[in-house]
Each structure stands twice: as C-alpha cells, then as structure tokens.
C-alpha cells in the first residue's frame, strides 16, 4: 500500500484549510434569504419576521416540522447566535469522516496496477 506522496499530502492539507475557512468564516456572509426552491414553496404567502408563512396560500404551509431534533439544527450550535462558523466546522469534519472513511474502505487495494 503506497501512502499518498508528500506533494499530494500538501495539496490535501491546503484544500482542507480552504474548506474550513469557507465553512467557518465565509459562512457568516451568506444570504439569509430563502433559496430557489423555498422561494417557490413560499410564493403566494405573506411571511412573518422569521420567514414563516402566516397568510395566503402556498406549498410551504403543508410542510412538516423536521422529524428529528438536532443541536445543530439550522446551522447553529444549540440555536446560539453567531455560531454558524462553529456549526460549519463541525459539519465539515463530520462530512470528511463519513465520506473519507467510506471512500477509503471502497478504494482498490491493487496500488501500482491501478494507475493509468
């Protein structure tokens, strides 16, 4: 089993730093407006301060509450204000562990033969 080269390791570390900066820092500048699909499902309703439909007719009125409570719901830690960056970093690490773990287990083990 060949370990990734030093050049690859440097690239991967740099990539991870960029990802952490996006989730942990740039996320503070994200728009809070509804995305494309939410705009469609809210279309036809008047919204309150929190963006929930209060009057009119729209698709979102019949949407259910999320079935599972999570301390990270809506990209905040325990609902705390200004915690989107921390929630983002936790999400990046969780995603990396799940995806990295799955792909590492699935990979071919025939090393050199695999290269084109």
């Amino acid at each position: 089993m060949s370990a990734p080269s030093r050049r690859s390791a440097a690239f991967f570390v740099g990539f991870l730093v960029v990802v952490l900066v996006i989730a942990g820092g740039i996320s503070y500048f994200a728009s809070a407006d509804p995305d494309g699909l939410d705009t469609v499902t809210l279309s036809g309703c008047q919204l309150d301060e929190a963006g929930e439909p209060v009057a009119g007719t729209c698709i979102a009125q019949i949407a259910g509450e999320h079935a599972m409570a999570s301390p990270l719901a809506d990209y905040a830690v325990e609902g705390g204000e200004g915690t989107v960056g921390l929630a983002g970093v936790i999400g990046v690490l969780a995603t990396l562990v799940v995806a990295g773990g799955l792909f590492w287990l699935l990979r071919r083990r025939d090393g050199a033969k695999a290269r084109e």
């Binding site: 995305d35 995603t95 084109e116």
Partner: protein, 226 residues
C-alpha cells in the same frame, strides 16, 4: 434546493426513496473502480468542500438566494459514480445533523441533486471534453456550462415530483415557471463557483481532475512537469 417533509405525499416520497436506493447501490458498485490511494482522500475532501460551499447562499434577486448544488464540481473532479455518493453524503449529513432537508424527502433530494444533477453535469462535461482537453480556458468553460445545466435540470426534478404527488398550494405551471426561472439565475452562480474551483484544482493538480484522466492533454503534461 432541499425539500422539507410533507411537500409531496407519502407514496411519492417512498417511490423516490426506492429510486435513490437503487441508484446509490449502482454508484457504490461502480465507484470502486475510480477510487485508489490518491483519489479516495480527494473524494473525501471534495465532499467536505461541497458541504461547506452549500452553506454559502448568494443573493440572486431581492428576497431570494441560491447556493451551490455541486453536481458539476464532483462530476468533473471525481467522476459521476463517486460524485453522486459525495452529494448524497452531504445530503444525509445535512438532514440528520442540521435539519436541512426532510427525512422523508431525502430520497427526492438525492434523486434531484445527487443523481439527476451529477449525471446531467457529467453528460455535458463528456460532450464538451474535447474542448476541456484543449486548454485551461476550455476546461473552465466546460465546468461553467456543466454546472449551469445541472442546476436547471435538477430543479425540474422537483417539478416532476410535485406533478406526481404534490399536496397542493400552487399550480403546476406556476411551480415550473418559478423553478426554472430562479434556477437559471442560480445556475449562473453555480457556473462561476464551479469554474473557479475546477480551474484552481487544474492549475495545481491536473492529475486529480477526473475529466482529464487518461488523456495526453497539454494540461496534464504541464502539470506533471516540476
């Protein structure tokens, strides 16, 4: 573009849950061939990248925003089979940890963004591959177009699901027009982010760009020189 629970009826949710499960099973089988000691860590990082960038909603109109879906990013960087798994993992993490996207809607979200989105992007990228192999500008243009088409076609997935089992609240014509209109704008943002990302990876490590693999493109030759 994450659907919440309850937007369509239960049989429709179940149907798309089954389609997603079949699609992902095929992807897991096929993904093995594209994963080795070098591409497996890359695929893990690309997945984390998509999660991070999906947090960044950008404004498209007053009161409306959009965010990256990532179908073309993953299709071009790690290939469609691994890429569909990347997007699916992001969607599962978002639904379980962040209450983003409903649990019963997970099948539809996977079909729309991971299956329709990624494979549409890959089809466009394959068609444009001769251009992508020519030079960096060609690759960046390919990334932009693949990303744009991926968003618009993925948005049609919701229109189809609403047509099959929508619980009401708006006419199908309105849903179609609004979905395609808004996602045309979001597609431009997706195109710009995708082009910048693919361009940056190709500048540093063209050997890690799936779409360029197996070619003798100038991009790869340049990249392998010290």
């Amino acid at each position: 573009m994450h659907m919440s629970d309850g937007l369509v009826n239960a049989p429709t949710s179940l149907l798309f849950g089954v389609i997603a499960a079949i699609g992902l099973t095929i992807c897991v089988t096929k993904a093995r061939a594209d994963l080795d000691d070098k591409t497996a860590p890359m695929a893990g990082l690309v997945t984390a990248f998509v999660f991070a960038v999906q947090m960044i909603n950008f404004p498209i109109l007053p009161g409306a925003s959009g965010h990256l879906l990532g179908g073309a990013v993953v299709a071009i960087l790690v290939g469609p089979w691994v890429g569909a798994l990347c997007i699916s993992i992001v969607l599962v993490v978002q639904a379980l940890l962040f209450a983003d996207g409903g649990l019963t809607a997970l099948g539809m979200n996977i079909v729309n963004m991971a299956l329709i989105g990624v494979f549409t992007a890959y089809a466009v990228a394959r068609l444009m591959r001769p251009l992508a192999l020519r030079n960096r500008a060609g690759l960046v243009a390919t990334a932009f177009v693949a990303a744009f088409v991926n968003v618009v076609v993925a948005s049609l997935g919701f229109v189809v699901e609403y047509a099959i089992g929508g619980a009401g609240g708006a006419s199908l014509g309105t849903v179609f027009t609004l979905m395609v209109g808004l996602h045309t704008l979001i597609g431009i943002g997706e195109g710009i982010i995708t082009a910048a990302t693919v361009g940056a990876v190709a500048a540093l490590r063209p050997d890690l760009v799936y779409l360029l693999r197996g070619s003798r493109s100038p991009l790869e030759v340049r990249g392998s020189a010290p």
